[in-house]
Symmetry: D2
């Protein structure tokens, strides 16, 4: 029986549902964040993502707004009703981030930052654990075990691409990791096609492929104006492209035995997953006004 | 406008259709081959695959039946009506293989075997060109260009996994290659999830993911008794599992804008692809009685 | 003009000298540590390595002795006169580790742990920065830049192998990184053939190769009884094998234009490097009595 | 007891000697080839390399002079007295290439071209077998076994870099392959630092590192005017740089227990390898006047 991870708002990740988490790579300005948050909520995303503390390869790159970014995420969450997932990089920041986020993200570069894993294991928020760019699935599962040992079992695993030799894509998205992990763990598994390809044009097909491969959800970067983004603009979808993708995903979900999770879903009140002819009658379930 | 590659039987690969090519890794015995051929035809495959000349890492491994294997493939093709795709490894064997096969496969290990590429470019059968395990997409496209320069433009590209570091899977199936190639070529693109994972349990989810990622077809290994296979038994599906996968794929195809190509399809007579509600009424199009 | 990094004891890393840092992977017991420390000092190592805080893939593996391990390292340092390099994993531990070590190691898994990089940049001990297993040289240099920005310019870079596809070795030691980095930075560059191969039998040839490739030094694991080691025993040399390797390295150093740095060397008092015939007369320079 | 592979001229590869094979990537013009051949002979190379049949990623790239190139290689061999190693790509060309070359090279892209391996196994010239860019050492040894099974045991293995993720170098030169192979085979092992790095500036340090790692020889690209080369000019050394490297290698060889093989060496007449003080007196052994 697969485990579901329930955010404080009652939203469940795992099981038969399919969830989309979306938002900008980084919190940059209030206007851009609130715009993106409203856009992804309107399109049917159920969790808002966005980074306040950003791990950047170069010290010259934008490092995130820090605590001020967390405040903006809280405001965006209140405005849209979406719970927030955001990254924590420093074990000393865990209490601060946990005060603002419904789920704490441990990023790819920190998958084997064991003091951080232990610290997020000692608090009560669910954790989104991203696979390292050179980590085997064994290593990912053992990293999750560091969190679990401290008492926190609410862990969502995230495939986000591994290092490989072809410069065509930024990383090589390993979708076979989804069914391969499924055999070995009951934890929910989501996919990040934005980092996994580094290329906005490749995000929609890989998002659909992730759903078909059996993922429990997606983490997608959406930006109001990708060409102005301070972080990873090349891989961010515009709201219109994201909305079109969401329509495709809603149509696809029942064909692979998944029901579409709506933002107002609450644990225990989600209708049983439908399949076959019945499911096709309910495609519109997923349409979320406005 | 995407190119379609038409086999001698009239079957078209590319465009809006989705084709499944299936059969054993290697031709081993008449009984096993005919059994597999009938099983994959019954389940809706439209091309029979099977190797008579096998490139094996070790000289101690089964090397294929050679010319005798080609005869058996011809018999299986007559029995089922399915055209055959089979590998050619030696430029000197091209005429012989072309006399028995509807499509010539250039395997992963030979993607940069330039004398072989030129030789298959000089004959008139379509060519299935598999990506090398360490080849970039640039290199794959340039390999195709070697074939095209000799006058043969009927080339189908095949993603089949690249070398990576995690021993969980035999190769790492690079599904982002499908949309990334699509931007750069009008050639049809198929995916081989059997070699791409090396693990029968991972083939169905990755086959569905390939369809959702935009592939024009699949190459799948099916064996009557994988535990007795002389070649790659771990990655072969049994007929029952293949049949179940085919049912899933038929259901999925219209949800991603694809129509299901039947074995009796002929170029020019295929109905236009349907989408939306209409497509859902025609899911049974794909059901092919044995 | 290449930069040299000088430890508190006066020992300089970089320039024309060649330094060997050696010791056990982890501090396990007082007896094993002191034994290894004396053995590596006797063989001519000039820095003692050993981990008190260990980043281990599995939470079930030995995690190091922590603060107690640091005390033992201090005792071993006093006994042998060798300065200590040891890993720090948690930004909160930096002051504690800096109180016991002459040089702080940032391990491979933490190369992009930016809070940790900043913290070691804010204290005054030299830092040994190991390349991540999937890090490009660009990324390694930018990680060093995080440290430098905080005011600490005493950084030694360490190549220790990258992830690759052949299970023959644990990692693939990238010796071309040594001259490739040399063109781009004035920081000293050392090589860790123990982690870089994961195999004690491969350590001596790769240690010599690193010297010939232009490295400024080595980081080598030595254990009194590798078969009993709690950590990475397969890659540790026994004292006798280490001593034989050191004799080979001393013979080799002048042939590649390097002088052998002795444990009692002090900045400013090291004789100029010799080359040609003169150097050959002084091969015995490197013999250091215990 | 390690096997030595003896070329028709009597030159032995393997054992305690160290051999350098050098020349241009491709035979381009008579003038350039003879110039390079004389330069590498003068500097002490003992085998001339150069490609007449070139495997090129793009069909638009220079494909080699073919049979005319073989004639030029024969002329260069006569002029300098150096035996020639050159690549054969097509099984149908084996007799032609064998008529002109002392050793047949099977290139990296053809390591698993089994018809070619069998064909070179059926003739009597020694074979230089290069490791594929994504081949494990197991696979390299099994490829050699294909040659040996046909009756030809005179095989020299060549490490030339594997595909990896850092664009700093063209390939990642895996020097640990040298001692790792040594444990598993008695065949001689040489290293190609030119293809292994793709960068002329990195060739000298990696050539020295290969010698120190235990290689039996090197394969180095030398071109009279690299900036005008039709093939891989970026990785070719000019004659002066090659000559300087050869002086360094001659100095280094005795320090790692190797004697320097001269062009006029004949099997059975090579003096026993010297070591220690005696070796140092004979450094000039290797100086070969043009």
């Amino acid at each position: 029986m697969p485990k579901t991870v329930t955010l404080g708002t009652g939203l469940a990740i795992g099981g038969d549902g399919f969830v989309v988490m979306a938002g900008p790579c980084a919190v940059e300005t209030r206007e851009l964040l609130l715009g993106a948050a409203q856009a992804v909520a309107a399109a049917g995303a159920v969790v808002l993502r966005g980074g306040a503390f950003k791990p950047r390869t170069s010290p010259d790159s934008f490092q995130g707004l820090g605590a001020a970014g967390l405040e903006l995420l809280t405001e965006a969450s209140r405005l849209t009703g979406l719970p927030v997932v955001t990254e924590v990089m420093d074990p000393r920041d865990v209490p601060l981030v946990a005060a603002h986020a419904a789920m704490l993200q441990v990023g790819s570069r920190n998958m084997q930052n064991f003091p951080l894993l232990r610290e997020v294991g000692r608090q009560r928020r669910p954790v989104l654990l991203k696979r390292g760019a050179a980590a085997t699935l064994d290593e990912l599962l053992l990293a999750a075990e560091y969190i679990r040992r401290e008492g926190n079992e609410d862990i969502v695993l995230c495939e986000r691409g591994v290092r490989s030799f072809d410069p065509t894509t930024r990383y090589l998205l390993d979708l076979a990791a989804v069914p391969a992990l499924r055999r070995r763990t009951d934890l929910p598994i989501v996919v990040d096609p934005s980092h996994g390809t580094g290329d906005a044009a490749l995000v929609p097909p890989m998002a659909k492929a992730a759903l078909a491969a059996g993922a429990d959800g997606l983490l997608i970067e959406v930006h109001m104006a990708p060409e102005q983004a301070l972080c990873d603009g090349k891989q961010a979808l515009r709201p219109a492209a994201f909305s079109a993708l969401m329509a495709d995903l809603r149509r696809l979900a029942p064909a692979v035995g998944r029901h579409w999770v709506r933002a107002d879903a609450r644990t225990g009140t989600i209708a049983a997953p439908r399949s076959g002819a019945a499911a096709r009658d309910h495609l519109d379930d997923g349409v979320i006004a406005p």
